[in-house]
């Protein structure tokens, strides 16, 4: 057990996987010698050599396309897109190729590939360093979509993603890289150091994909969240004085529907929180599934608290970001309905 930031935990997961299997190769922009703009691959090139960890040209489609070819050969590429906001040039490769290779070739070729990308806002990243594009991946058959919220999960889920035989989109909330964040931007920053969730088991501590985690038990309302919004939801529940059950989904696809429905059937109410824009966001799918599965248990209309349907702004960061005040108001409202 060691105390780590999320960055260190992600780096450690790479290290464990590369040590265990020489088929694991790591590359992306600035990933090699420099160790990544967020330091998530620091030291890996030095330790494993430049044929296992290397810098790539600035070409997202090329990075993903080459990795698909490598995966088809039999390697296990773990690649980085520097910001999720810059994944779009690779969308064709991800959707048309990585996601479908197994199905269209009837298993003749497969694509064991992990695409890591820092995601989310709350860092004054403006339009192209803040986006949460998870819904454009959860809509794609053949992909898995994972988003951790703490160092131990980041390591355990990344190890499972690397071991997974199918392509995994691994979204890393960059706002959580150095410490938890509950949306109170006016308060001092907290660090993962000395935080219990910063304690990360050594070695291979895989956390299975497709399993949600109840981070706060409660009786009155179920809050479905992931990434940074897990902490926002917890803070909002405390501040609003609502006995909310907060579920960190951890894997969006495949989704742990059982944990969700068990909770909503218990509480009878549901609030869905994500940073991404609202319309056709992942919250819409969650709302549909809960409606289908828990209709007769629902005592109030479900509420989504999300980013607005606008590009992510710069100066208006905290008016955009669904902070604890907005989430708290939703919790109170759903209890009054």
């Amino acid at each position: 057990m060691a105390n780590m930031t999320m960055i260190e935990a992600i780096r450690d997961a790479h290290d464990v996987a590369m040590e265990a299997d020489d088929k694991v190769v790591v590359f992306g922009e600035d990933v090699g010698f420099f160790g990544g703009v967020f330091r998530c691959t620091a030291g890996l090139q030095e330790k494993y050599g430049s044929s296992r960890c290397f810098d790539a040209p600035i070409n997202e489609s090329g990075i993903v396309g080459a990795a698909i070819g490598m995966a088809a050969y039999g390697l296990k590429p773990v690649i980085e897109i520097q910001f999720a906001d810059y994944v779009y040039p690779a969308y064709d490769q991800i959707v048309s190729e990585a996601a479908r290779l197994r199905h269209r070739s009837n298993g003749d070729f497969t694509c064991p590939l992990v695409i890591r990308m820092p995601t989310g806002g709350g860092i004054f990243g403006g339009q192209t360093h803040s986006q949460s594009p998870e819904a454009i991946f959860t809509h794609v058959s053949g992909l898995k979509v994972v988003i951790p919220s703490n160092p131990a999960d980041a390591k355990g889920l990344l190890l499972s993603s690397i071991a997974d035989p199918d392509p995994v989109i691994f979204l890393e909330p960059k706002r959580l890289y150095n410490g938890p964040f509950d949306g109170h931007h006016d308060r001092p920053l907290t660090s993962w150091k000395k935080h219990e969730l910063g304690d990360v088991p050594a070695g291979d501590n895989s956390i299975p994909l497709g399993k949600a985690h109840v981070v706060r038990e409660g009786a009155d309302v179920t809050v479905l969240a992931y990434g940074t919004m897990v902490y926002v939801a917890e803070a909002a529940a405390e501040e609003a004085g609502v006995d909310a059950e907060v579920i960190d989904l951890r894997t969006l696809l495949p989704l742990d529907l059982d944990t969700i429905t068990d909770s909503v059937k218990k509480t009878g109410r549901c609030v869905i929180v994500h940073e991404a824009t609202r319309t056709c966001g992942f919250g819409a799918e969650l709302m549909s599934l809960v409606q289908e599965s828990c209709f007769y248990h629902l005592e109030a209309p479900m509420i989504r608290v999300t980013g607005w349907d606008t590009p992510y702004p710069h100066a208006q960061e905290w008016e955009y970001f669904p902070g604890p005040a907005r989430v708290g108001a939703a919790l109170k409202k759903v209890m009054e309905d």
Binding site: V25, S51, R52, A56, P57, N59, S61, G62, G65, A66, A67, I68, G69, M70, A72, Y73, G74, L75, P77, P89, D92, Q93, S96, E97, R100, L101, R102, H103, R104, S105, N106, G107, D108, F109, T110, S141, G142, K144, P165, D166, G210, P254, L255, L257
Partner: protein, 411 residues
């Protein structure tokens, strides 16, 4: 002041002729067969820049094999090559008819381009991986992939190896070095470079081949592939099949004013060669040269195969709507089958009689295989893949939401 300038106008390239015109290839420069020398495989790409503006040709007008690229293939190998091309052409003709008869939804021919994939296939080693487009089935035919399996795929019947999931002709065979075909153009070009990088990372000696058409070189992944191949010196042979047409669009729209497609390799420091795509011997010799170069760790090669798409783009296309009807006949590089046939006859290793006999044998074989495939089923008629199967293979293990949907669908 702005009044000093003439109004700007947009340049939109046009092909030399359109329906009703007389085909004119008079400005298409064809070097003499044997004129282009064969450089050593470790040549500095910079030293052979002129090869991207010329055309490697072996067979001359009289059907003789001449120059430094000649002499690599025995008469037996050439007869085999001719048989592969004839088989592909016969297969195409039968499947085109089958589509017209409603036995399948779609087909794409290789008419006029048979030498490119058939000759290339014979230059590779077992274990090498091709990343083909939808117009390189010669790679399968020349690697003895069963025609029956190809037809089962085209008919989407119960014996289709892809279980009816894929559009006809989107074959896949890892065993035969044929990567799963995707409908999305250009994507496989960069994947092949990744495969080659993986071979290099693993210390293997296998090589990859990339395939793309003239039109698709305009796709972003063409650029990505060139950068990656060049940067990592990947063991890959990158093939552009310039058949002059991308559906209705002539190659000048994709080429962007550059003299040739091969010349694009220069900006990336990649050895770049143009070859007569209708000359079986030239395609094979250049492929062998490039494959050897890749296998010895000397880096990637870009090959532009200069050929002509003699047939329609697909069964959904009518070329008479956009090009002169007799353009294929006027194509100055001729027909690849006729040229190899003439060569074999010229060197006394073939005859009209033997050719007619081979044609009859091939037709009988293809027809027999077709009957066998059709006895299993054709699209919408006979034994079909199970609907239950469409839920399989999305992931290695079926997740619960797919199990629920499969049950909901009644399977």
């Amino acid at each position: 002041m702005t009044q000093d300038y003439e109004p700007l106008s947009l340049n939109v390239p046009e092909p030399g002729c359109r329906p009703g015109d007389t085909p004119d290839f008079s400005d298409f420069e064809i070097p003499r067969a044997g004129a282009v020398p064969r450089p050593p495989i470790d040549v500095d790409p910079d030293k052979i820049r002129d090869m991207a503006f010329s055309i490697v040709r072996v067979l001359n007008k009289e059907g003789a094999a001449v120059g430094e690229w000649a002499g690599a293939l025995s008469a037996d190998e050439l007869r085999k090559g001719l048989r592969h091309m004839m088989t592909l052409r016969s297969f195409d003709a039968r499947m085109l008819t089958a589509q017209r008869q409603g036995k399948t939804s779609f087909y794409m021919q290789h008419l006029g381009e048979e030498a490119v994939s058939c000759a290339f296939a014979r230059a590779l080693e077992p274990g090498d991986m091709n990343f083909p487009t939808y117009r390189q089935a010669g790679l399968l035919i020349a690697n003895d992939y069963p025609m029956l399996t190809m037809m089962n795929q085209i008919y989407s019947n119960a014996d289709d190896p892809l279980h009816g999931r894929q559009l006809p002709i989107m074959y896949s065979s890892k065993e035969h070095g044929f990567f799963s075909i995707s409908g999305n153009l250009g994507t496989q070009f960069v994947q092949s470079v990744g495969w080659a990088m993986a071979s290099a990372i693993s210390g293997d000696t296998k090589i990859a081949t990339a395939w793309i058409g003239d039109g698709s070189t305009a796709e972003n992944d063409f650029h990505a592939a060139m950068v990656f191949a060049s940067t990592y010196k990947a063991p890959v042979v990158m093939n552009i099949v310039n058949n002059q047409w991308a559906i209705s669009t002539f190659q000048g729209i994709a080429r962007g004013g550059v003299g040739t497609f091969a010349a694009r390799g220069h900006g990336f420091g990649i050895a770049s060669i143009r070859v007569d795509g209708n000359d079986y011997l030239a395609v094979h010799a250049v492929a062998k040269w490039a494959a050897e170069r890749a296998r010895r760790g000397l880096g990637p090669t870009l090959i532009e195969h200069v050929t002509y798409r003699a047939g329609g783009h697909s069964t959904s296309d009518d070329p008479s709507a956009y090009r002169a009807g007799d353009e294929a006949a006027a194509w100055p590089l001729g027909d690849p089958l006729e040229r190899l046939k003439t060569h074999l006859i010229t060197i006394g290793e073939w005859s009209e009689e033997r050719h007619a006999q081979a044609e009859a044998e091939i037709l009988a074989e293809v027809t027999a295989v077709q009957k066998q495939a059709e006895s299993v089923g054709t699209l919408g008629d006979g034994k079909a893949p199970s609907p239950r199967d469409m839920f399989e293979g999305v992931y290695e293990t079926m997740p619960s939401h797919l199990i629920r949907q499969r049950q909901e669908a009644g399977y």
